[in-house]
Symmetry: C2
Subunit: 202 residues, 2 copies
DNA sequence: TGAATTCTGAACTGAATAGTCCAGTTCCGG
DNA sequence: CCGGAACTGGACTATTCAGTTCAGAATTCA
């Protein structure tokens, strides 16, 4: 059974906890979950062991909080990018921007990279990535719904399936590009995904 | 500079080395690279530390050999599955079989899972996964070339791009299905990829 | 056969790391 | 202002793991 971890009751405590999570999230973004030790986190956050174990049951508990933090962050950004997209050209432009930003700093997908690292090693963290993917997919679904309402997408197209397929192409493209250290694969994967969507255009 | 690691000169040595790599590959398949310690490998292979360091410079060197082994194995199997595929329905059937086998034992893609784990932590191993992906993609390219020769695929379709896109969809679908523990995402991703290919059929 | 080479076993070292403990400090309601 | 609860510091433990060492066994080949 997991030992209790107190939630902070005061403002000061909440700030401490948050600072730990945020610094940890930065380190994880840079070095991955496995590549980040608790001691690294502690010096980065200017905190001490007992502080950490005051707020988190164990390492996995911290990792879960970090993953949740990064997913939330990613979804906030993606929401900004996608909330006003309601036409195919806008979607294309947004995706092109995503590819371009990847080219500029190829730091993988925050959610995808975490997911593969965490999936069968930390159930709580895995569930956070599931939520993150679901939110992302949902943003795509909403885009397709708006496209359908504006008559740009044929009725028979399943927004859910299109969203899943687009997300998969992105994730796979990122994986290939990250492995190959060359954004070309991501570019091609996105192009194909867009072409597939366009095939359902009115 | 990396310390020398002897290649085996005798049959016995070759067998020892191979046994270590194979057992290590099994453990890595089950627990991932990070989740497999040298000691685990040694007891599984019935070998000793000095044996290991006789054949491998260090842990990374062993990991590289393991990754190469698993990629090679995967490519052998994929070659068997794909070498005689020259029609779209055959490709669809093969992919459906892949999805079905994933449903039966959802052990991710051997290459993709390794790639994301190793990409920015072990340059030699990363290069092995690059080679593995290239071989896989090449198999798809050959399929598309055969389809094109038989007039089933229009000339303007780029076999390379189709292959990259298909591979990305597969990898992304596997990633999603693995984190969600539900083969549905992979299924949808493959369906979309096939539809995209079919849009280039004559 | 016997010397040189290749290969093997097992104990050891040192560093990193997750997790514990407890005494001391700060904060808050009454 | 005081008693208890929330919070903090940092030293300490136990373990795991990569890598070393070296004596000696097996193998090769002249």
């Amino acid at each position: 059974m997991r030992v209790m971890s107190s939630k902070p009751k005061t403002e000061r405590g909440r700030a401490s906890r948050e600072r730990i999570v945020e610094r940890a999230a930065e380190l994880v973004a840079e070095h991955g979950v496995q590549g980040t030790s608790l001691d690294d986190v502690l010096v980065a956050a200017g905190a001490s062991k007992s502080q950490l174990y005051h707020y988190f049951a164990d390492r996995d508990d911290l990792v879960e909080a970090v993953v949740a933090n990064r997913c939330e962050q990613a979804i906030v950004e993606l929401t900004q990018l996608l909330k006003s997209v309601s036409r195919l050209p806008e979607l294309e432009q947004m995706l092109a921007g995503y590819v371009a930003s990847y080219e500029q700093s190829p730091t993988g997908c925050p959610i995808g990279t975490l997911a593969s690292e965490v999936a069968d090693r930390n159930e709580g963290a895995r569930l956070q990535t599931v939520v993150g993917f679901a939110a992302w997919e949902r943003l795509f679904v909403d885009v397709f719904e708006r496209m359908r309402e504006s008559g740009e997408l044929r009725a028979e197209a399943s927004s859910e399936s299109l969203a899943t397929a687009l997300l998969a192409s992105l994730q796979g493209g990122i994986l290939l590009s990250q492995t190959r250290r060359d954004s070309h694969s991501l570019h091609v994967a996105v192009e194909a995904a867009v072409a597939h969507i366009r095939s359902f255009a009115s």
